[in-house]
């Protein structure tokens, strides 16, 4: 073990770590139940959450189509809605499968972090594309709503509801996008710093 960087600050850390290790030495930590649970854990390509999302979206597709059909929206609008939902679903599946297949946790930390950043950038790009698509869809929704409805008050009410929902969704999407960008930027800066020295 190298010692030339041992200074009081690092020595302090070492002393405190020794206390931590002596506490942990008195603990069993791992038990038989835990090991059995770990070994039984099923390895799948998709996470449980993604599977639920896929099932939910698949059920939502015909439901959305039926709702807009019942309300008298045009065929073009219905097809556009299903197309957007369908493409979003396929993209989500693709991103999840790619991320899980490309994850190699036994790679060195830097290489792994760089790979994960690359896949996250693809996700961010998708989010950046979807927010304006959503805004366009809301515009189409309002247009189609006024075109098909004989009742002006109903059309206004439905349009307001759609616009408010869409704007909330767009804001949440934009906030999420900014947060992910900020986190990715911090990680990238640290990776560059480590590689530079």
């Amino acid at each position: 073990m190298e010692t030339e960087n041992d200074t009081s600050e690092l020595n302090d850390l070492r002393r405190m770590n020794d206390l931590l290790q002596s506490k942990l030495d008195k603990q069993a930590i791992i038990n038989k139940d835990l090991i059995e649970r770990i070994i039984r854990e099923k390895s799948g390509t998709l996470s449980k959450e993604t599977t639920i999302l896929i099932v939910f979206t698949i059920l939502t597709l015909p439901f959305c189509y039926w709702v807009f059909y019942s309300l008298g929206f045009s065929l073009g609008f219905r097809i556009a809605t299903i197309a957007i939902l369908g493409v979003s679903l396929l993209m989500s599946i693709y991103q999840q499968v790619t991320l899980i297949r490309k994850r190699k946790l036994d790679e060195d930390i830097l290489l792994y972090a760089e790979k994960m950043q690359k896949y996250r950038r693809q996700n961010h790009l998708w989010l950046a594309i979807m927010v304006p698509v959503l805004l366009l869809w809301i515009g189409y929704f309002v247009y189609d709503n006024f075109s098909r409805s004989g009742d002006l008050h109903q059309a206004i009410a439905l349009s307001i509801a759609g616009i408010v929902g869409g704007i909330i969704g767009a804001i949440l999407g934009a906030v999420q996008f900014k947060r992910q960008q900020r986190m990715a930027k911090e990680i990238i800066e640290q990776i560059e710093l480590l590689k530079k020295e």
Binding site: L19, I29, N31, L34, D106, I109, Y112, I191
Partner: protein, 160 residues
């Protein structure tokens, strides 16, 4: 298969303190340590069956553990199927003098970025600069330079 399971259990028990320490340093409460610890073990088990001795077992365990902790999106998902660990200490809340010292360690290390945190933890594990470099993916010289910078940061923290 049973031999593999026994071998896995033996290896994990030999490194359980190190894994727990890393999970502690990347968590905010005891439940998170629990979640991260079990997520790490699951990832180790999945990789163990394909482990080809391309690196030492210690390097491999540290890589999987650190990659799991650094990249874990545990804020989004909380495991509901975790088994309680056999630990009767609460490093976040115990009030004896050793626990307070340990929390000082936590506070200092937590102020470092994730990669610097990883380097410090590996250094505290008494790994050589070459071994630390092999886990992180940088040269031994870079490790040395990084540790100097970390020391400077820690000095600034203690002067505040």
């Amino acid at each position: 298969m049973e031999n593999l399971e026994n071998e896995f259990e033996k290896i994990i028990k030999a490194h359980q303190n190190a894994i727990y320490t890393v999970c502690y340093m990347f968590s905010k409460d005891t439940d998170e340590i629990n979640d991260l610890f079990q997520e790490t073990l699951i990832n180790l088990w999945k990789g163990f069956q394909d482990f080809r001795n391309e690196s030492s077992i210690r390097t491999w365990i540290w890589r999987v553990c650190l990659n799991t902790c650094i990249s874990s999106e545990r804020k989004k998902k909380r495991r509901v199927e975790t088994v309680p660990l056999s630990v009767d200490i609460d490093l976040f809340n115990d009030d004896d003098s050793d626990s307070r010292q340990i929390r000082m360690l936590y506070d200092r290390i937590n102020q470092l970025g994730p990669f610097d945190r990883a380097i410090v933890l590996l250094w505290l594990e008494n790994m050589s600069y070459e071994e630390i470099g092999a886990v992180i993916g940088i040269s031994a010289k870079n490790v040395s330079v990084r540790l100097v910078r970390i020391k400077e940061e820690l000095k600034k923290m203690s002067n505040k």
